[in-house]
Amino acid sequence: MIPLKYPQMERAVRYVMEKLDIELVDDPRYSCCPDPIYFKAGDRLTWMTLAARNISLAEEKGLDIITVCSGCTATLCEVNHELKSDNELREKVNGNLKEIGRQFKGSVKVRHLVTMLRDEVGVEKIAASVTHPLEGLRVAIHYGCHLLKPSAVMKVEDPLQPVILGQLIAATGATPVEHHEYLMCCGKACDTADLTLNMSYAVFDSVERSEADCLGLICPTCFDSFDVGQLRVSRQFAHEFRIPVIYYFQLLAIAQGASPEEVGIPYHKIMSDTLLEKLGAVPVA
């Protein structure tokens, strides 16, 4: 989704990884993870088989997988975990993979990039890479559902009292804001539009009361709900929200010296002069 819908997020991730001196290995043989909502709801076994194929490509190179989207995290972490722990299921999936000459071995880790950075790089080193601290910027946290849950699979931390995003936002020099609805779902997967709008409204209302300058998140689907979706929510509830939404790695890249343009901030639908000023950009007229 990120490369084909929000390439600014990919740009930001590549910028950050270069600054942290971490090499990314791309492989055009990857397919979609595939998505953990619709594809899984249609055909769970094929969904697992395609995910296992993707994981087997990393196994072939002996490399761990990082994901930069929470949906990818949900699919790849779950399938990796299930196939590592359930022999019967692994045999079934490997039976399917035989047709293309591949096999799932269970030899690599899959993690969202924020988890990998916390565990392998450390928050202090990330803070040390910041050259343009985002002082005075208040960032409302939105965790999204698929970084932390199900916790028995994700093993990141307690999904009821998470701290990882707060720590990483603080590393940029900004102030993380734990507003009332910071653990709420964005609602994107519901079939009834009213449900999606109500869930998003709950988040916007909470962020607005928190007086944050923007909403910070790590998932392109939540971004979809909150950036483009904000216009729909404003119409539906006759209340004009103007809450800019930023992907965490865009914030970190800017704190490491990138200009907002370089990481695609102008592509966002909702922006505010206050935020642009705080990010060091020239405000739009």
């Binding site: 989704m1 490369p3 084909l4 819908k5 390439p7 600014q8 990919e10 740009r11 590549r14 055009p28 043989r29 990857y30 397919s31 979609c32 595939p34 998505d35 953990p36 909502i37 619709y38 594809f39 899984k40 709801a41 249609g42 055909d43 769970r44 076994l45 094929t46 697992m48 088989t49 395609l50 194929r53 299921l89 399917n96 993979l97 047709e99 293309i100 591949r102 559902c145 698929h146 849950k149 199900p150 916790s151 999904p159 009821l160 709420m184 779902c185 609602g187 994107k188 997967a189 519901c190 079939d191 009834t192 009213d194 449900l195 109500n198 869930m199 370089e262 990481v263 695609g264 592509y267």
Partner: protein, 142 residues
Amino acid sequence: MLGGFSHNYCYQCGACVADCPTHRFMPGFSPRTIIIKSLYGMEEELIGPDSLIWNCTNCYNCDERCPQEVHPIEVIITLKNMARQKGTHLTFIDKIIERVGERGVTVLQTEMISKRRRELGLDEYKVDCIEDVTKLINQKTV
């Protein structure tokens, strides 16, 4: 059918309901009720054309809260798989699966995004997986 056997462990405590965001805004939707209906075999209601299961937001709160490891969300996903076999699912799902089979990815490549990739200095997005993915999707497995 994969998954969804854990509904037998449910003792109807309702922990899943209290933290369900769909229930908060649509009180008629309840993971607890879906589980008891699964146990009673109320197939028509659960996987018929107007089933409420499609309003699950896939947040996994029920999975976290359940003291019995019922994994209500996985039971709901299994019901969705059953609905597809019956032909009472969201047809959008077929489009997604078809698209992945044909292109390897869910999101369509558009000229606007290709232009943004160039503006951002990113390489053109390429996939080289279609042959494998088509074979795996067309396999006849259950």
